[in-house]
Amino acid sequence: MEKEFTELLYRNQGIVHKICNLYFRNRSHKDDYRQELIIQLWKAYPKFSNKSKFSTWMYRVCLNAAIDILRKEKTQPKFTEYDTTLGTITDHKKETSDNQEKLHQAISRLTDIDKAIITLYLDEYSYKEIAEIVGMSETNTGVKINRIKSQILKTIQNGN
């Protein structure tokens, strides 16, 4: 089971990176969050039943875990003892292009749920799949996505 899981996780490792970038981008020890997401995936793996794609299941577990961690940090500020202020943007600028940086800034201003929705959309999941992962109706999902996209494009085009 471990070998199978490792192989599946390796092939979909981009999902973990994306979620860490989305929710924990400016944390100083991002690797701890990445590890925690992998552990949560491993704990949940025995319940994976192949009814959905592995990547869809993985998104569900990782998004729930990430939102959960953020919630815990709100009640127990010393839970992570880490500085959550924007501290390493200049380092990120070395690695990413200007457009990538603008996109990240725009997405960082969204709510936790909107971040989840837009990530799934940018990863080319259908409205139906996004609705299932998030727990909304398909119609609501479409409306939400259009609103979020307009918000992001506006933020990027305004340059701040």
């Binding site: 990176h17 590890q35 552990i39 729930n64 919630r71 749920i113």
Partner: protein, 211 residues
């Protein structure tokens, strides 16, 4: 900038961070076999340690007090000493319940439900936790009442001989209100501490339901 451009930028971000296959797989295997060496696993171990420490303390203090009561060869603790012990016990009760809360929430993470279902489950969990703590408060409170009455009667030399004008005795008598005050205090403290999360969860569920 079009939607297609956004998608290309987004995918490029993840690709920048992919590493060599062999290294990546070894790293994954190491993480899942050792359950991580990072901060979260340390916090979980610390919380488990705190939980057991306060539980043992919670049991040991009344046990030790009871053994002293039963051992008639030794002098009995005065009412002042007893009141002091009870406040230590109340502190241990609070710390134990706190550790139990943290453990509950640490263990609640892994699920493959939709985000909304997961939030609804968390709401139910919070409600159950408040009610459970209330019951624990009543349970511990009754324990304290019984021990306090026993202490008052034994130290005072019988009900008719208790000096209700002495300060320590007055405090001891007030302790009899513990099963009423303690659960209410725990419930109040829980709601205060988790009010932000409860509000957050409610808002997020509403956000998922509205158009």
């Amino acid at each position: 900038m079009e939607t297609k451009d956004l998608k290309n930028i987004w995918n490029a971000l993840a690709d920048n961070q992919l590493v060599d296959e062999k290294l990546a797989k070894e790293n994954i295997t190491e993480i899942i076999s050792k359950k991580g060496k990072g901060l979260f696993s340390k916090m979980t171990k610390k919380t488990i340690f705190d939980y057991w420490l306060y539980l043992i303390g919670l049991i040991a203090v009344p046990l030790a007090t009871t053994m002293v009561h039963l051992n008639l060869m030794k002098p009995l603790p005065t009412i002042q000493a007893y009141v002091g012990i009870v406040f230590v016990e109340l502190y241990l009760i609070y710390m134990f319940i706190n550790a139990r809360r943290k453990l509950n929430f640490i263990e609640s993470s892994n699920n493959s439900l939709s985000i909304k279902e997961s939030l609804v489950e968390m709401q139910k969990k919070l409600k159950k936790a408040i009610n459970r703590e209330y019951r624990l408060g009543v349970f511990f409170g009754i324990g304290i009442i019984l021990l306090t009455i026993i202490q008052l009667v034994i130290t005072g030399g019988g009900l008719s001989n208790i000096d209700f004008t002495s300060f320590p005795t007055m405090i001891a008598v007030l302790l009899i209100a513990t099963p009423f005050i303690l659960p209410m205090l725990l419930r109040y403290e829980f709601k205060l501490r988790y009010s932000r999360i409860t509000k957050d969860i409610k808002q997020t569920i509403n956000e998922l339901e509205e158009i």
